[in-house]
Symmetry: C2
Subunit: 203 residues, 2 copies
């Protein structure tokens, strides 16, 4: 089986899931935590080398305050949860902004947790303009490699600011189900689909 | 009808079309010209403000020489064809490289043809690293605006180096048919699909 080295994940549909289930929009984010851990374990099982989660971007912080606080907390919880696993963890995003949760400051340099292993990147207040803002030193996300496969939940077909430079050759797989309805099969079907892609990197 | 302001086009599948039709790979590029004009006229009809074609990228020039010469010629022909229309035309790409066809040098600054109107951008030897290579002046493609809708022919689900920064919020529509089999309905179905997308730009 030809596997992607680096999988990107856009776990979208939390708010729509909550509304469909008779909750207020922000309740959906809580439901996104355990799928995140399930997906991490699947990537371990398939020996994926690098995994990047879309937490939130600077653009997302324009949403109503209650939503913002809720998805920020969900990201803090997710990163702390992942720090209990075996991973080389990095939180990437504009940490000089008030929108960056202080609790995640210890993670802005890559750090080994447990026995290490998979590179796990988590976008928190990520902003591609910030990423490019000091090109004399290269892009700020230079520790994150090219993404081979991006899986997006929730049916939208867009990157929404996810690592534009690492995604120039990514294959893009869409799951129509919302992220809180994550199933193992979503991931496995994405891997099977990836097998059939003809990877040439333009050449 | 809510229309995309800026449509990006990845006209892929020329080589696979040629092979399926019993020709050698490079014969497909010729068949891509008239669909390009048809698509341009459709965009005029729908009053699309800006249209960007993926011609080729610097990565594409690694392919066998005969292929490279053929797709380069197809791009020259396409740009010259578009210059007979009413358009504000720009060819964007690394024009300092030998891979950039000299015949297209007159187009590396935006120029009005006919009565002007639609902004038409054509990527020729485009390279995102080149685009970012002198960030003190901003990106080199700064005259090209955010892309709302990207339509890709040929079934692949990736950007392949298409304007990464302008594409951070683009909605991505895939046509499984190969580009030489272009039909009006492909474009119109993409516009209908675009209607149903919830455009928030992250907010």
């Amino acid at each position: 089986m030809r596997l992607p080295m680096h999988v990107g994940v856009i776990p979208d549909g939390n708010r729509r899931w909550a509304v469909n289930n008779g909750m207020t929009k922000e309740k959906g984010y809580d439901k996104g935590l355990s799928p995140g851990l399930e997906l991490f374990k699947l990537c371990e099982k398939y020996k994926i080398k690098e995994l990047t989660f879309y937490g939130f971007t600077a653009d997302n912080t324009k949403r109503p305050k209650l939503q913002r606080l809720t998805f920020t907390k969900a990201c803090v919880d997710a990163v702390e949860m992942l720090s209990k696993e075996n991973a080389d963890l990095l939180v990437i995003g504009n940490y000089e902004s008030d929108m960056f949760p202080k609790k995640l400051l210890p993670y802005i340099q890559r750090k080994r947790f447990g026995t290490g292993g998979m590179k796990v990147n988590f976008l928190v207040n990520y902003d591609w303009k910030w990423d490019l803002s000091d090109m004399t030193k290269g892009i700020k996300s230079n520790d994150i490699s090219r993404v081979d496969l991006i899986i997006r939940w929730g049916g939208r077909r867009r990157l929404s600011g996810f690592l534009p430079l690492q995604s120039v050759y990514s294959d893009f797989y869409i799951v129509d189900d919302y992220w809180p309805d994550f199933k193992t099969e979503h991931f496995e079907e994405a891997l099977l689909w990836y097998q059939k892609q003809d990877i040439t990197l333009g050449g």
